[in-house]
Symmetry: C2
Subunit: 388 residues, 2 copies
């Protein structure tokens, strides 16, 4: 497996483009194939997610249309009608069924979509569709809200199969904005069942393990489409095992997820929390996520303070089973607690931008990794000063 | 029921005193009687809590000794030995059993108690013990860490019974410090079973419904002792019903809990989240706590931004059952969402220091209230700049 350039357009059969005008943006990605999606668990679900979930029942999509600036969330019947119209507008231009289009939105909650603006822009976006790296970057850029940079990543597996994606996200909910979006493509020919189970596994290990502020958006969505331009993956031309595909997909999802955290609102430092010695995978995940969610751990990292009591306390209240007499903790490679005992004279250097926290809970053999960022005054400023 | 002055010393049979010297403080409260306690759910439990829980098995205590500056948490065998020594030092002076003393600590995690300092101060504290309001205030002041003001509250029920308490707390974990402590007394003669069940109910409605930063301390403890100086409450002299006592205890716990939030680290505004229309009490609590925990709601309140989409999103991810088509939301008395519909032209004034958020989830008849504070740069500064 090797990294390749081109983002979503690294994948054969995919074209993309997008434009940004002030706070509004519009992207289209084309690429037909078997498709699976993962959606927010928030009980308030944005209209485009309801429509896309419905369209995905056919397990096939031919294009994605995504806008930034308005989340089209908590917008009632009008919102559902607008999301369907977004799909219809693209379907009309591409000559495909409306039911094969996946609409997505990110932005302010509770205001209606500006359908007129979308109608005005759609032809320019369609005209710009390209299978080059520039196309992917334009699409990635157009869906940004408080994001500082566009997020793209792609790999090529040894079989030649490519997996590439773009994502956006900066707060779980950014300033009155919603969301994390990721659109991923592969040119392998992957049957729906495998596509779906690989995506769920990859999302659980990547996007579900990042925390900026602990708020879960109304608009989170990850879509994966297999264009089948490469025949490998089929029973006739195997050449691609499920573990190999899973590894590639995990890599793309994890890299995109880490980009979101590095670009977290106001973030200056990147935190990796690795938990080992847990009794169950669930315990390992709970503890790792509690550490990167804790405002006290996040402010300690911001202040370059190796305040390990806060990490131990976060693991303690996470709900994970642990043994205080066997817990160990290392920060940036320096062990500060060794099987329940405080290491005298341990000196931790926290001046770098990447801080690794490793906690061994003691009782088991399960592991998990979570990624987060520090909590800064800039986060407070961004989210306090934004006026709805 | 009416409010009375004197804090913990408003209760007949209670004496208190405390001293503060730099970051260290020491308080003693005497008052024998039936006693019940509620402790942190963090799996890392501080040594004094382990000792106090053990001593409470007799359902009787004669005094509390509490220090600030050191949490005596994650301190191993030495910590347990020190906590027992704290109890023994007071027991010796008062001529009672060590097993009838409840030790408590608050401060930095992972460093041993300065037993020498405690030994040096104990006689001055014992000598200062007083049943006046000054005694209560001295004790409340001596257990402060990042708290800005001491926290005391007392009521007198129509039967003449008094309930009074002191508390400390500013972050769930303050700068590398742990904790929320509350010591409550009543002069009623209350049997253990009723005392215990009333305390659990009161704590669930008060201390368990406040959020500063969402971090759960290793040292949280609430103790309630009935000195029985008033004979009411006994089978012979009833005069005090369980509902009347519960109401008084709820009031004292709630007022102390609200003082902790108002004194939250860096807090400038006080948030009340009232959730109605929930299917279960648990759902109502989940939604109310999610709202006062959300960094995005907290920063919106800080920025005086009636950013109601964040409140709806927090209720949505809280896990509570809700009906998006029937949800209603009012901020500071102004309805912004009415049964699923956005109210056009609603103008919310958020310039006050107390912000009330009322959410009706729709499907049920259960309610809950949670209290929180805004998230400010000062919170980040306090917790980033503290050097362990």
């Amino acid at each position: 497996m090797k990294e390749v350039t081109g983002g979503v357009c690294a994948v054969r059969g995919v074209r993309a483009y997008g434009i940004k005008e002030g706070k509004n943006g519009l992207a289209v990605i084309t690429g037909s194939g078997t498709s699976s999606g993962v959606f927010t668990r928030n009980k308030i679900i944005a209209a485009p997610l309801v429509v896309t979930r419905e369209h995905l029942k056919s397990q096939q999509i031919s294009a994605i249309i995504a806008n930034s600036g308005c989340a089209n969330a908590f917008t009632g019947e009008q919102g559902l009608s607008d999301a369907t119209s977004m799909a219809a507008i693209v379907a009309d231009r591409l000559g495909v069924r409306t039911g094969s289009i996946a609409p997505a939105s990110t932005g302010v909650i509770g205001v209606p979509l500006d359908m007129e603006w979308i109608e005005d822009q759609i032809d320019s976006v369609i005209a710009g569709l390209s299978d080059t790296a520039d196309g992917s970057t334009a699409a990635a850029r157009s869906i940004m809200t408080t994001d500082i940079y566009p997020k793209e990543f792609a790999v090529e597996l040894s079989s030649g199969v490519r997996i590439g994606g773009i994502a956006k996200g900066s707060g779980m909910i950014s300033p009155n904005m919603a969301t994390m979006l990721a659109f991923i493509y592969t040119d392998a020919a992957i049957p729906y069942g495998m596509l779906n189970s690989c995506l769920k596994r990859a999302v659980n290990r990547s996007f579900n393990m990042i925390v900026v502020d602990g708020d879960t958006s109304t608009n989170d969505m990850v879509l994966l489409t297999a264009t089948a331009e490469m025949k490998v993956g089929t029973p006739d031309e195997p050449g691609l095992s499920e573990p190999e595909f899973q590894e590639g997909l995990d890599c793309v999802c994890t890299e995109l997820a880490k980009m979101i955290v590095r670009d977290g609102e106001g973030a200056e430092r990147f935190i990796v929390a690795r938990v080992t010695g847990a009794k169950t995978d669930g315990d390992a995940k709970k503890a790792a996520k509690a550490i990167v969610t804790s405002p006290l751990v996040k402010t300690a990292v911001h202040g370059e303070d190796p305040n390990w009591g806060r990490v131990i306390a976060a693991a303690g209240y996470s709900g994970a089973d642990l043994d205080p007499g066997r817990i160990s903790l290392a920060i940036s490679g320096v062990t500060v607690v060794d099987r329940g005992r405080i290491v005298d004279g341990a000196v931790v250097d926290m001046s770098g931008t990447d801080i690794e926290i490793v906690v061994d809970l003691g009782p088991g053999a399960c592991e998990a990794v979570a990624w987060g960022c520090d909590l800064t005054c800039e986060y407070v400023r961004i989210n306090a000063e934004y006026t709805s």
